[in-house]
Subunit: 183 residues, 2 copies
DNA sequence: GAAAAAGTAGAGCGATCGCTCTACTTTTTC
DNA sequence: GAAAAAGTAGAGCGATCGCTCTACTTTTTC
């Protein structure tokens, strides 16, 4: 029941991540999910809903991916960037699924909302980590910088390769943290 | 003759930048360019060729946009980031046209090539500027960092707004330059 | 174990989309 | 000013795409 929907959402995430949002029609998505067209449409009543389902699933997947890691110091703050580096090496280096979806459907308010929500939560992640490590400092703009490095690493990795982008982002992040005496 | 092709390419760039690569069929592009279908296809014999034409035009537009500016010091190196900030405020804040096109056509070798070429040239821009300002230092990874900040600013601006993204990128860039005693 | 819910399999609809082609006119070339 | 090139206007093709619907089977619920 909800199990079926979950399973389909998981396959949709995988499918869109692998082959992109264009070029892949509903029939192809159906085949990947290995369900009938009727069942697919029952849970996701339009192609747009399928994309939303995939993005919401990815949102959960990614925040689970960020769990754990060092609990103190600069390493606590940098952990999401390290994990992004892992993701680019182990899972996929094909840009950001959310931004790719948004690029495809610039007029969909629902997709824009999911993208903004995910990214806002990600920016919040950096804010919380900084607040934990340096509770007496104003680290608001530092959080924005780390978020920007996260987005930059994702895109640069496609173009320059994972290693270069990872080193560049970590280098910039450490310099920015050092400038505020966070280590 | 070449004048017509130029004019069409310019309209295609504007059109794709405004309305994205999806949702806009060839007929809509034809109307925007204000030519007949036959003329459009004469110069750009497929929709993919139209996208390539728009990207090549944007490539020229953007490098012209970067011309001028301070010729020395950190300001010379930072100039492309400043100009990107101007672009996001004055022209458009809708992500990167190249990456958006690539997201739409992940299987097109021709589009991938144009995107890679443009981005490689942009990375080279930072390398050259650093070589001019600090000829005796190894600034290779610094150039990669600045390129990453350029890409990050482009994406973050859509999500956090131009001001925040601009400040965050400049902040990180200055910290990275300062760490290597470039001012 | 009867009733309801959830599933399969797949035909086929209306609409759209990229592209071609025809018939004709305007502009350019030498 | 004749010939060639470049243009307009738009009908219409084959293919694809998102989605609906029918007929039937399997699973779940109580």
């Amino acid at each position: 029941m909800t199990g079926t929907k979950e399973r389909i959402a998981s396959e949709l995430e995988r499918s869109f991540a692998e082959a992109g949002f264009a070029g892949q029609g509903v029939e192809a998505l159906r085949a990947e999910a290995d369900v009938s067209l009727r069942t697919l449409y029952k849970h996701f009543p339009s192609r747009e809903a399928m994309i939303l389902g995939a993005l919401e699933h990815r949102d959960a997947t990614y925040f689970r991916w960020l769990e754990g890691g060092p609990q103190e110091g600069a390493a606590h703050v940098l952990h999401p960037l390290v994990r992004l580096g892992d993701w680019l090496g182990e899972v996929a280096n094909t840009g950001c699924l959310f931004l790719n979806a948004w690029a495809q459907y610039p007029d969909s308010a629902a997709i824009a909302a999911v993208v903004r929500d995910h990214k806002a939560r990600l920016a919040g992640e950096f804010r919380q980590r900084l607040a934990r490590v340096a509770p007496r400092q104003d680290t608001g703009h530092l959080a924005e910088t780390l978020f920007l490095l996260h987005e930059g690493m994702t895109q640069a990795a496609r173009l320059q390769g994972r290693e270069i982008a990872y080193e560049a982002a970590m280098h910039a992040a450490r310099a920015a943290l050092a400038a505020q005496n966070i280590d």
